[in-house]
Amino acid sequence: MARFKKKGTKAPPEINTGSMSDIIFMFLFFFMVITTIREATLIVRVRPPQASEVQKLEKKSLVSYIYIGTPINKGLGGQSRIQLNDQFADIHQIQEFITQEREARDEADRKLITTSLKIDRETRMGIVSDVKQELREIGAFKINYSAAKGKRTD
């Protein structure tokens, strides 16, 4: 009995918080991994041109992407191709793609969708004009020419 009483008078042991930081670090890595996830795996080569007057694209959830460039797989030829989602697409599939993108968003947000054109710098304007014409017809007027921030050359 006496032995037990002696123990009870002691102060409660401190909780070890050393592992707390490890948990938080795990969170940290989780977020770092999540934020770098790409929207699609590129199958066309896109080296964005440089421009000095670039602006940030706001609201990533309201952006749909169209990639244009030469196929990474050299066996598929050197012609510029369009990539929608994860596969090559034909010029006529763009309208369908925009409709799908609209349906995936809330009704209220549909007008705010921006189409980001990620186009390789060596692409010819012919295919770009065709894509722009398709976008005009379907009514996706807000576009963004993706470019890397560069210095002015003057």
């Binding site: 918080t17 770098t36 990620k118 010819r124 304007m125 009514g139 003057d154």
Partner: protein
Amino acid sequence: MSKKTPQINSGSMADISFLLISFFLLTSSINTDMGISRKLPPPLDPNVKPPEIKERNVFTVLVNQNDRLLVEGKPGDLSTIKNLAKEFMSNPSNDPNLPELEMKFIPNLGDVLLPKSAVISLKNDRGTSYEMYLKVQNELTAAINELRDELSVQKFGVKMSILGNEEQIAAIKAAIPVPISEAEPENIGGN
């Protein structure tokens, strides 16, 4: 000898990692996509005739398939296009060959002397490289941004990028719009 080494208090370690986590959460949004935003015009109605625009109100930029520029009928290059566009859009000397000026009332700005209608017409060939096209777009955007900055400094004392007031930004944007009009694509040089 028998003394134990005191334990280091690691409670604050969690706080430090929390700081790190919030830092990463904030900065990870910085690597968002950058680009030049544009608004496409609605498709043309074939029954409606396009309005006539006076020659003095149009600034034509042509880019051919060899990425050469023709600015207002003269061969030009990228370094001069920005200043030419700025001169065109502001017409500081009231030149009869540049757009007509008129006093416009803009909310939050008051009366400003602005061109009545100034259009930059950009036309490219199907063979133009995208890089060149974007460079031209970039120069024209630079011209607009500089004019906006000048107006902002004149009216509010600071550059537009520092303006915090949404209404002021909207006023500047209304005073100097993005007047770039792209010609309907034509198939001239083939693919």
